[in-house]
């Protein structure tokens, strides 16, 4: 009965406002499948944080192109809150949050929803395996990633696309978050075994005019009973697919990859029932593709960190400009 005291909403509800998202995705399709989008990465932009990084991709050529912007900041190692029990290792927690205005059309609330909790969990997984937690007993390392703008939605249901294919939006966000956070950790000077770079790869199915794969109905029976002819359609491996892309992704994989050690800290793949093969080698191809993407990203991270350091070192004239042959990334191959 107590509920009668509170003021209920109008009995006949109101419909939320529809925003038009005027994205032209042409720029994306022009990219060749194996080239990554240009990445802009800059470290230590958040003074209060121990280490921080800002990542944006692709560097907007025209204001209309959808971009992914996110910042990562690392705090710690700092003493654990007194309530928590003694732990011989550092506790690394990662939290990924979409800012309310990040997704076009729909405003996101401030409370973390399922997606965010899930991504946060995966992010901390990917990072914790790279950090040398043994070096920082009974201390906490907190990583905060906030997504400022995410290329035309997470591909979460609602923005039309992706009926026939899997969603790569979230994977893209996660991969970017991993790279950015890893750069921030390196910037903080926290000891880690290796830097983690996130990479995404997808099996792309060009959509030719006549067949609509986008709709559920079609996507439905594409599983078992797909006409022979359909298989003729080209399925190509595309690195770093953009969710804004005007094509159907049949399967995708995101990895957290430590290039120097050639080890994976995170694997996340999604598949679809078409083409009907057993997905194993498909998945393997995708993982390899994602790793290739990650290697590309890794080079960017290296450069970003080095750039930062040269800046720092020049200030105190510890070394002169030419001193660095930039062979940091020769280590990668």
């Amino acid at each position: 009965m107590t509920d009668r005291r509170r003021i209920n909403g109008p009995p006949e509800g109101t419909t939320p406002l529809e925003f038009l998202t005027g994205f032209t995705h042409q720029s994306v399709i022009k990219r060749s499948p194996t080239t990554l989008r240009k990445i802009f990465l800059k470290t230590s932009l958040t003074p209060p944080a121990t280490g921080s990084a800002f990542l944006e991709l692709p560097t907007p050529s025209s204001p209309s192109t959808p971009t992914l912007k996110l910042t990562a900041s690392v705090y710690g190692p700092r003493p654990l809150p007194s309530a928590t029990a003694f732990s011989p290792n550092a506790r690394l927690t990662a939290e990924l949050k979409f800012s309310p205005f990040s997704t076009p059309g729909r405003r996101r609330g401030y409370i973390r929803d399922g997606v965010e909790r899930d991504l946060s969990a995966q992010l901390s997984l990917a990072l914790v395996k790279s950090v040398d937690v043994g070096k920082y007993p009974k201390s906490a390392i907190d990583v905060f990633v906030s997504v400022l703008d995410c290329e035309g939605g997470l591909g979460d249901p609602g923005d039309g696309k992706g009926g026939g294919g899997v969603e790569v939006g979230l994977m893209g966000v996660l991969a970017a978050a991993i790279s950015c956070a890893s750069a921030a950790i390196a910037d903080a000077g926290i000891e880690c075994f290796d830097l983690v770079a996130g990479g995404v790869a997808g099996a792309m199915l060009e959509r030719d005019g006549d067949v609509e794969v986008g709709r559920v109905g079609e996507g439905g029976d594409s599983g078992g009973a797909r006409p022979r002819g359909e298989h003729a359609r080209k399925v190509t491996l595309v690195l770093d697919p953009s969710p804004a892309g005007d094509y159907v992704i049949l399967a995708a994989a995101a990895v957290g990859y430590m290039a120097a050690k050639d080890e994976l800290t995170l694997v996340w793949t999604k598949g679809s029932m078409s083409p009907s093969s057993d997905g194993t080698e498909e998945t393997e191809r995708l993982i390899d593709g994602a790793i290739r993407a990650a290697i590309g990203v890794r080079l960017v991270i290296n450069e970003a960190i080095k750039e930062r350091w040269l800046l720092g070192l020049n200030e105190i004239g510890l070394i002169k400009e030419k001193g660095v042959g930039g062979d940091g990334d020769t280590a990668m191959d």
């Binding site: 009965m1 107590t2 009668r4 005291r5 009995p11």
Partner: protein, 293 residues
């Protein structure tokens, strides 16, 4: 959270021994209520019940609201209870304790769910407008038998309440002020009264209207709600000491008698109060009569 202090060992043994000899420390015999004192406020729908040291205030108010979409032909009747620190230091404001929930559920079942108030009669325009009758129960001091007292308070207040008269021509609904037209009483279908029994000494002894101390010492309790026509509205014996079925039936019989007495008292007090009012606003009364004629 503060707790009611338990009686000391001495008090305990004393009271129980006394009960064993069928004696109560306040001298009542086992199946008698404390002196029931019922007063009404100046304006309609305010009932003040005193049962020994227990004092409960019930306020009935009415407003015009939109009926629930799924029941367009019925008005809304809500009862709200809140155990505040005023009644006893053991109660905190705000957060609902289990005791409070149980209490409100009981009153709920006893009065609202037994349809003491005819909600159809509260409908003004089907699906558009209806009266919402709301009974707020305030506990002023707590010395046991809260349920019984508050139940009496609510039914008394409901009977005492008068809502403004309404007239409808076409779409237009006019609500007349108290002075304009004689306010109309609510249509009460029956008058449920709660009687709470407390059991001691493995069911040998059972009390009516236990004081706080007695409540703290009881092994089990049962609340029976009846009206004077002998209709059971609600029984709730939520666990506690297991009682022989025959005893329970005996209790029910006793309860019926008590309910008779109490309803009578309530009725008497209502009439007395009505008489007073008539004397007071005789003028207005007669004027209204002429208008109606």
């Amino acid at each position: 959270m503060p707790r009611e202090l338990d009686p000391t060992a001495n008090e305990k043994s004393f009271i129980l021994d006394a009960l064993n000899q069928k004696l109560r420390i306040d001298g009542r015999d086992l199946d008698s209520f404390r002196e029931l004192e019922l007063n009404f406020g100046d304006d309609y729908g305010l009932a003040d019940v005193r049962l020994g040291k227990t004092r409960v205030l019930a306020r009935v108010s009415a407003e015009v609201v939109k009926p629930f979409a799924d029941r367009p032909f019925e008005g809304i009747f809500t009862i709200t209870t809140e155990l505040g620190p005023m009644a006893s230091p053991a109660f905190e404001p705000g957060r609902q304790t289990e005791q409070e929930v149980l209490l409100s559920r009981l009153i709920e079942k006893a009065i609202r769910r037994s349809n003491a108030l005819d909600t159809e009669s509260l409908c003004i325009v089907a699906g558009q407008k209806c009266w919402q009758i709301r009974a707020d129960v305030h506990f002023l001091s707590h010395d046991g038998a809260l349920v019984d007292a508050s139940c009496i308070a609510v039914v008394a207040a409901l009977q005492h309440f008068r809502r403004p008269d309404v007239s409808i021509e076409g779409e237009k609904v006019t609500i007349h002020t108290m002075t304009e037209r004689v306010p109309v009483p609510l249509s009460i279908l029956h008058v449920p009264i709660c009687v709470t029994f407390s059991f001691y000494l493995d069911g040998e002894v059972c009390l009516i209207d236990a004081t706080l101390q007695e409540e703290q010492l009881r092994q089990g309790d049962m609340t029976i709600t009846l009206n004077k026509f002998g209709e059971l509205c609600q029984i709730s014996k939520a666990g506690g000491l297991a009682i022989n079925a025959l005893n329970l039936l005996r209790c029910a019989k006793v309860a019926l008698v008590k309910v008779g007495e109490i309803t009578a008292t309530v009725q008497r007090r209502l009439e007395e109060d009505a008489a007073v009012r008539v004397r007071r606003d005789n003028l207005l009364e007669s004027k209204a009569d002429n208008e109606r004629a």
